[in-house]
């Protein structure tokens, strides 16, 4: 009797296991790939009282065909809706889109300029509160326009416009030093700290906006419409206050230690131009207290450079020449970057370089006194740049071609 009872309990236990096996491994909120609309880029605009949200969704059926080039449809679709809050607008997206927008794979996020000017912190709240969104996408501002315009352009090199923007940012950050790669995490940290302000790279539609929306744009060798990365947008806390052109953006990136490689030129000793390529830079902010405890900042930079184009007849076999070029580069970098940083300091009065944070780290006591009116204080600080340049390589040939030609 006892034996059978045990058997029964064993069997019922096994049954329970089987039932559990059936229930537990299933995913409660499973979503197959074909039920999702994978959002590659999101644009946020603010219009009077509503957020206008545009999402660029990948059309997976078209993406696979890209190799043959036989696809007729666009590889992406851009949907646009508006709402009082961003999630509300996203919900409304379902009225036009057949699938649920899935936000985890966003590569770039674009703010319209008017939203950026009126403050992005409310939009950032949604972005950091939402559990689907990660912090690894790049943020951009659409210069002089709406974010949605950027998402309407069909790009020909990269099939998916969002990817095109993404890799442009990655590359230009590495090679060009004029734009920047700013993630949500960085932006929020810089925005919330008193002693620093964020920057965001800008992007613009160049050419005919209407033409760019059509697939025809892809079929041309010289596209009618292109997306162009245009310098940095300067923020004061969460508001955009101005745009930096190419030289100012580059100088800002030098101060922020965001430059990897870039190139420049100086006037040669005997006329002509000597071009150089910056291979590696490292910059550091030093703080010193001047009179009346007014902080003075020095940006110390060390750079490794290569000569990449010598449009002159200098004698590169003499180390004196190289030494001269070296000094000349230092002087140029010092004077230009100092000038640019001072322009930003005077014109916008917003500390995008994190000087305040450097002060905070070095002189915490003084910082406590200054932090509440740092913006005004920042304008009175003295900024200097000291660079140390080392020319490492001069390329595959020694003497400039023009010199060789003249000698023969």
């Amino acid at each position: 009797m006892l034996c059978t009872k045990q058997k029964v309990s064993h069997i019922s236990f096994l049954l329970l296991l089987v039932i559990l096996l059936a229930i537990l491994p299933g995913c409660w909120s499973k979503k197959e790939l074909n039920e999702l609309a994978i959002v590659m880029a999101m644009g946020i605009d603010y219009d009077d009282s509503d957020y206008e949200v545009s999402i660029q969704v990948m059309k997976s059926s078209e993406v696979g065909k890209s190799e043959g080039g036989s696809s007729d449809g666009a590889p992406v679709i851009t949907y646009r809706t508006s709402g009082k809050t961003i999630p509300e607008a996203l919900q409304r997206m379902l009225s036009v889109a057949p699938r649920v927008p899935y936000l985890s794979h966003i590569r770039v996020l674009i703010f319209g300029e008017s939203l950026a000017r009126s403050g992005v912190s409310d939009a950032l709240d949604f972005l950091s509160r939402n559990q689907q969104l990660r912090t690894d996408f790049f943020m951009l501002v659409s210069k002089g326009g709406k974010a949605s315009e950027i998402l309407d352009v069909v790009t020909s090199f990269e099939n998916i416009p969002a990817n095109s923007l993404y890799s442009s940012i990655l590359l230009s950050e590495k090679k060009w030093a004029v734009t920047g790669r700013v993630t949500l995490q960085q932006f929020i940290t810089q925005m919330e700290r008193r002693g620093s302000n964020p920057v965001l790279p800008g992007v613009q539609v160049v050419g005919n906006k209407k033409e760019g929306e059509s697939h025809e744009n892809k079929k041309r060798v010289v596209p009618m419409t292109l997306l162009k990365h245009v310098g940095l947008a300067v923020f004061n806390r969460d508001r955009l206050v101005g745009w930096l052109g190419e030289p100012l953006s580059k100088s800002t990136n030098y101060a922020l230690n965001e430059v990897n490689t870039t190139s420049g030129y100086i006037e040669g000793p005997e006329g002509g131009i000597v071009g150089f390529e910056v291979r590696r830079t490292e910059s550091d902010i030093k703080v010193k207290l001047g009179e009346d405890n007014v902080p003075e900042f020095t940006v110390k930079m060390t750079m490794e450079t290569d000569l990449n184009s010598v449009q002159s007849t200098v004698d590169l076999q003499k180390s004196d020449t190289v030494e001269w070029i070296n000094r000349k580069i230092e002087q140029k970098v010092d004077s230009y970057v100092t000038r640019d940083l001072r322009i930003i300091q005077e014109k916008y009065g917003t500390d995008v370089f994190g000087f305040g944070e450097a002060l905070h780290r070095k002189y915490p006591k003084l910082w406590k006194k200054l932090r509440d009116h740092w913006d005004e204080q920042f304008k009175q600080c003295k900024i200097t740049v000291k660079s140390k340049v080392a020319i490492r390589r001069i390329g595959s040939i020694v003497q400039p071609v023009k010199r060789e030609m003249n000698e023969q």
């Binding site: 537990l24 409660w28 909120s29 950091s128 559990q131 990660r134 912090t135 690894d136 995490q185 929020i188 940290t189 919330e192 700290r193 944070e357 905070h360 780290r361 070095k362 915490p364």
Partner: protein, 362 residues
């Protein structure tokens, strides 16, 4: 019935699991909120306080070798007073278990599985603890031994993969606001380490001396891991985002990106939390059952398991209304409540025990 026994290594791992469990999810935000850049120093302070607590417990255990927490109460305070104190402790453990279960449910549903009902996640975890309680402490100890390497390896993965994202600037300046916030944050963090629970299990360790060392060692290792995590949170996320995140450690895991290749691994790293949480909640469950058995002089505790699991889940639903509410309770009430149970009472008991012993000798 032979009394079960656990080895020193197992005891070490259980202590470690108890220290890490759930604290690993939430500790950084509280510390960074008060101690700012010095959060990690505050956590070192909290480590010191915890080790001091463990020393008190060890002295208690030495006074009455072979007795567990609840038996010690009765030994020191006499039968009836001891039972009342035991009940107060049992209530503390009950609320604690419920809140932890609530916390885990909120974590899973708000970060990973937003569409799963919170009750489902909590019940699943409770079922695991119930099965564990039926099988006994020895099985839990073995499970601990089994999962310990996984916890260590995953934790190392978390730490090592985050190194590229470190900003050393983020922890400067040191001692920005002086020592006061560090002390405040450190002492706050210390009372979330319910190491006294291990007093229920310390008699099960055969080798007393080694067991004491394992107790200290487990608490130390767990705390050092937590300190490392706090340090990483501040170094990677910065103070602002550490303090404003509901689950900073998870946000930390989300930022892992090694060469655009090793990324989106937080789903795997959640194993750390889940495994340590399992150890913690099972230990709490066991200690509650044991306490009930001793207080009411029951022969077996098996009958209580199901009843208590229902009680715990109800407490979880009722106490953890939302994270804001719990956060406020933790700020206002829990600190002193836990302080009483973890330091004040054991310390007084220790004194009474020693005095009693001296009087008896005379």
């Amino acid at each position: 019935m032979k009394t079960p026994s656990i080895t020193t290594v197992q005891f070490f791992i259980l202590t470690f699991g108890l220290t890490m469990g759930t604290s690993i999810l939430v500790t950084p935000s509280g510390l960074a909120g008060i101690a700012r850049e010095d959060a990690w120093i505050a956590d070192l302070l909290s480590t010191a306080i915890n080790l001091f607590m463990v020393c008190i417990y060890i002295v208690l255990a030495r006074l009455y070798p072979g007795s567990n927490l609840f038996e010690i109460f009765e030994n020191i305070l006499g039968k009836w007073c001891g039972k009342v104190l035991s009940l107060l402790y049992l209530f503390y453990i009950l609320i604690l278990t419920g809140t932890l279960l609530g916390n885990l449910g909120f974590f899973l549903t708000s970060e990973m599985m937003p569409e799963t009902p919170i009750e489902a996640t909590q019940i699943l975890f409770l079922i695991a603890a119930v099965v564990c309680a039926r099988l006994g402490i020895v099985v839990l100890a073995r499970v601990g031994e089994l999962v310990f390497p996984f916890i260590i390896v995953l934790f190392l993965v978390l730490v090592l993969t985050l190194i590229p994202q470190i900003h050393l600037d983020f922890i400067l300046p040191i001692f920005d606001d002086g020592i006061a916030p560090i002390i405040k944050a450190g002492s706050h963090a210390a009372v979330f380490q319910e190491l006294i629970i291990m007093m229920v299990f310390i008699p099960l360790v055969q080798e007393k001396k080694k067991g004491e060392r394992a107790f200290l060692g487990g608490a130390l290792l767990g705390e050092l891991f937590l300190t490392l995590l706090v340090l990483l949170s501040v170094l990677v996320l910065g103070i602002e985002q550490t303090e404003n995140n509901s689950f900073p450690a998870y946000a930390l895991a989300k930022t892992i990106n090694v060469g655009n290749f090793l990324q989106r691994v937080e789903g795997i790293l959640v194993m750390i939390w889940i495994l340590t949480f399992f150890i913690k909640i099972s230990l709490l469950f066991f200690s509650m059952l044991k306490g009930m058995r001793i207080v009411f002089g029951l022969k077996e505790e098996g009958a209580l398991i199901n009843t208590f699991s229902v009680l715990i889940i109800l407490v979880a639903w009722e106490t953890y209304i939302n994270s804001v509410y719990v956060g406020e309770i933790i700020q206002k009430v829990w600190f002193s409540y836990a302080l009483l149970h973890l330091i004040v009472v054991p310390f007084l008991l220790c004194l009474t025990g020693i005095i009693k012993r001296k009087l008896l000798r005379k």
